[in-house]
Symmetry: C2
């Protein structure tokens, strides 16, 4: 799908503020509301706009630990990787999962309220996988930056 300058400006606005009204968006990018609306719909349908969400401040909702978990698997078998991925997808504690190259196989970003819940998570998801060889946990007391925006192409 081709994106022109107007589409990119629309995406830029929406990435920064998803609650902007269609009218305000239209005037910002220099279109009529109906033309703007058509483009936003097209961007949604194409999947470039994946979803619209509200971001919450985790630490204002209670105790919060952010864990960066590096997982090393026993054997490089696709089917075994798939099983692990499926568990990671299903686990609500896992907020992000990256499959990486090198010594480590997966990196997870996990959010839990406390250590006890983290240990429960490890038992349920990590130790439960027979192909999991070992993992290392980096404990974060602070998420200093969290930016969901993507750098858009110049044109």
């Amino acid at each position: 799908m081709h994106l022109d300058r107007l589409d990119l400006r629309i995406l830029d606005c929406l990435q920064n503020d998803g609650s902007i009204t269609n009218q305000a968006l239209a005037s910002k990018v220099g279109l009529s509301p109906s033309a703007s609306l058509k483009r936003v719909r097209r961007l949604r349908e194409s999947g470039i706009i994946e979803r619209e969400v509200v971001l919450l401040a985790p630490e204002k909702l209670g105790p919060t630990l952010h864990m960066v978990v590096e997982v090393i698997m026993e054997r490089d078998h696709k089917a075994l990787y798939q099983r692990f991925l499926k568990q990671a997808q299903a686990a609500p504690e896992v907020k992000q999962c990256y499959q990486v190259t090198g010594e480590v196989d997966f990196v997870l970003i996990v959010i839990v309220a406390d250590m006890e819940r983290y240990e429960l998570f490890c038992d349920r998801v990590l130790y439960a996988d027979p192909n999991m060889r070992k993992f290392r946990t980096l404990i974060s007391r602070k998420r200093d930056k969290f930016d969901t925006r993507v750098t858009l192409p110049d044109e």
Copy 2:
């Protein structure tokens, strides 16, 4: 700030779909539109609702590499850490930054279009810091999960 069951239900809905109309939200949680609106405003003002955004599919916008970068600093000085954090905050390639405990000091999630831009980033942000001792890059060809939702307290 105290959150009751209704607030939590509102947050749950909005985390899943920020584009829901206030009317639909109100009927979902069992309130009148005006009561719902007042609560949403209060949640915004309190900072629990941080922002509302549209999430884009990075890979549909062009080539995308996700890097997990583990950074080790030379000395544990707060002022020197602050300087690094400031640079990480300012760098558009850095989407997330976690200060962690243990052998590693910071973990960054970096998004770039290609290796060339990653190297430019390393020069500009990592090597440029005299207190940066070394770093390790885990390259991800795939972001398998990305969930911005937070687990809400039971009550």
